[in-house]
């Protein structure tokens, strides 16, 4: 029981809150009966320290451990934080989540940057489609240039051929160089029935077409058992052309029928053919594939008389020129100019279609 000798112990227990309610009432009643001790009782009560409510531990949320989320039922706060991690929303303000810890955790789920180079990437690059026609343009120019060049070559060649046939100088060159391989004299076996060897053979035109046939002068200086050349020449045509050929014919002793075909090129197109079809008849043919086709037949009769048949299809010079104007020679082939123009036009259209499709479309629209 509390009295004036032990009241200090009870006062301290009261201040520490160690007394129950009945004991506290007994202490309070004792202080009321002894007013001289009330001041001392108040001093004990003032020694009691009360906690400061405003003081809290900073970042104590960092001490919290993350919980496993229910992925099938995410809360709004969790979804908001995930959206923020996906850069699709603002940072949520919530007290139920440890934002900083969760944010730090979600940052770790983001896939880190990684460089992966695609192999053979250079295969994917493409060139500008507009650059392709440049080659085509060049090809077009080259094709045109080649066509002009071929045409020019043809004309020069044609002119040269005409000059070779018509000029006396060219004739002389032909007759003066019979030993050339291309101008090798044709030799054939002629039966030894030429009893009139001392005579100059008569060569008369058999088929003399008016206006087309050219008289032929041929000389055979061969005698029996002698090998002398027989000269064959064609005269002037009605177009004023003059062509002269020379051939050497040798009469052998035997009578065997021998067919000997040889050629002597007067020009690129002229061919002289000599045929001995029978012992009694020799036919010398001169054929030319030039513009004016000629055929000469030289017949040697048993009586040792020579006849020459010359057929010419020499056209009028103007007509020939006109015909030639309609053709063009490409790589040795004779092509009609009109056909060539049609081909060139088709090629041009194709190139234009590739080079400038928009322009073509615009033309079509117009």
């Amino acid at each position: 029981m509390i009295n004036r000798s032990n009241y200090s112990d009870y006062f301290m227990l009261y201040a520490d809150g160690e007394l129950d309610a009945l004991q506290m009432q007994i202490v309070e009643a004792f202080v009321a009966e002894n007013n001289d001790l009330s001041a001392e009782f108040d001093l004990y009560l003032e020694t009691k320290i009360t906690p400061d409510e405003h003081i809290s531990m900073p970042d104590k949320s960092m001490l919290l451990k993350p919980e496993i989320w229910d992925t099938e039922n995410l809360t709004e706060e969790q979804s908001a934080l995930l959206s923020f991690a996906d850069s699709e929303g603002s940072k949520p303000h919530t007290t139920n989540l440890n934002i900083e810890a969760e944010w730090s955790l979600l940052q770790k789920t983001l896939l880190p940057a990684e460089v992966v180079a695609m192999p053979h990437k250079e295969k994917l690059y493409r060139k500008e489609s507009q650059r392709k026609p440049i080659f085509i343009l060049y090809a077009k120019r080259i094709a045109v240039a080649a066509a002009f060049l071929l045409a020019g070559m043809f004309l020069v060649e044609k002119m040269t051929t005409n000059e070779t046939i018509s000029t006396p100088e060219s004739i002389a060159s032909v007759t003066e160089t019979p030993e050339k391989p291309k101008e090798t004299p044709v030799t054939t076996n002629v039966p030894a029935t030429n009893t009139n060897a001392d005579k100059d053979p008569e060569i008369t035109p058999v088929n003399n077409v008016p206006g087309k046939t050219v008289p032929v002068l041929a000389q055979n200086t061969a005698t029996d058992h002698q090998q002398k050349p027989a000269e064959l020449s064609t005269g002037t045509t009605n177009a004023g052309k003059k062509t002269e050929y020379q051939d050497n014919i040798v009469n052998p002793d035997h009578n065997d029928a021998i067919t000997n075909v040889a050629s002597m090129r007067q020009s690129n197109e002229s061919v002289i053919q000599v045929k001995n079809q029978a012992p009694t008849q020799n036919i010398l043919q001169l054929k030319t594939n030039a513009v004016d086709t000629k055929e000469i037949e030289l017949k040697v009769n048993p009586a040792n008389t020579y006849t020459a048949n010359v057929v010419t299809e020499v056209k009028d010079e103007a007509a020939v020129a006109e015909d030639e104007a309609e053709y063009i020679y490409i790589v040795g082939s004779k092509v009609k100019k009109q056909k060539f123009r049609g081909i060139a036009r088709t090629i041009n259209r194709g190139i234009d279609k590739i080079v400038n499709p928009t322009k073509r479309q615009a033309n079509v629209n117009e």
Binding site: I68, T109, L110, L111, M118, L124, K127, E128
Partner: protein, 162 residues
């Protein structure tokens, strides 16, 4: 789109598309074929494709092509395990975290992994991903959140404390 712009796309996006496809298919030649096909289609349709939308177009074409290829592969090789790590030489300095994240990615479904890659690698928005993967925007959001939460849970699980 001009040829020059197309070539810029090759230079800028080919690696990105290839990375996305390769990470999902995990096969070099197949990924290369898919990317080449995507660029080929873009070249064929270059007049209709705007340069500004070329990247999205490429990813869309490549993604669809990849899905087709994956379906074919799955028909042939059922449940074939792909032991190869998804994450290659990354800038992740923590090798343990990289390993854990790689394992976490393997727990995702194909669609979830595609979503995460398109978001994290390419930074596409929900709307753009929805266009590429032919999903609604809300589906993308829900699926992606779920995928991210799975990755998160994997990392915080007691076996993978980071």
């Amino acid at each position: 789109m001009t040829a020059n712009e197309y070539n810029i796309c090759v230079k800028e996006y080919a690696d990105n598309v290839y990375r996305f496809i390769y990470k999902n298919m995990r096969h070099v030649e197949d990924a290369e074929d898919v990317v080449q096909t995507a660029f080929q289609k873009m070249w064929v349709n270059k007049d209709e494709v705007e340069f500004e939308k070329a990247k999205s177009y490429l990813f869309t074409i490549a993604y669809r092509q990849m899905i087709d290829n994956l379906r074919k592969i799955k028909r042939i090789h059922h449940k074939e395990e792909m032991p190869e790590m998804i994450l290659g030489s990354t800038q992740q300095s923590n090798p343990f975290l990289k390993k854990a994240l790689n394992e976490a990615l393997n727990t995702l479904t194909d669609t979830q992994r595609h979503l995460v890659m398109l978001k994290d690698y390419e930074g596409y928005s929900y709307a753009e991903i929805a266009d590429i993967m032919e999903l609604s925007e809300s589906q993308v959001k829900v699926y992606l959140h779920r995928a991210r939460a799975i990755l998160r849970n994997y990392l915080v699980s007691k076996e993978n404390v980071v």
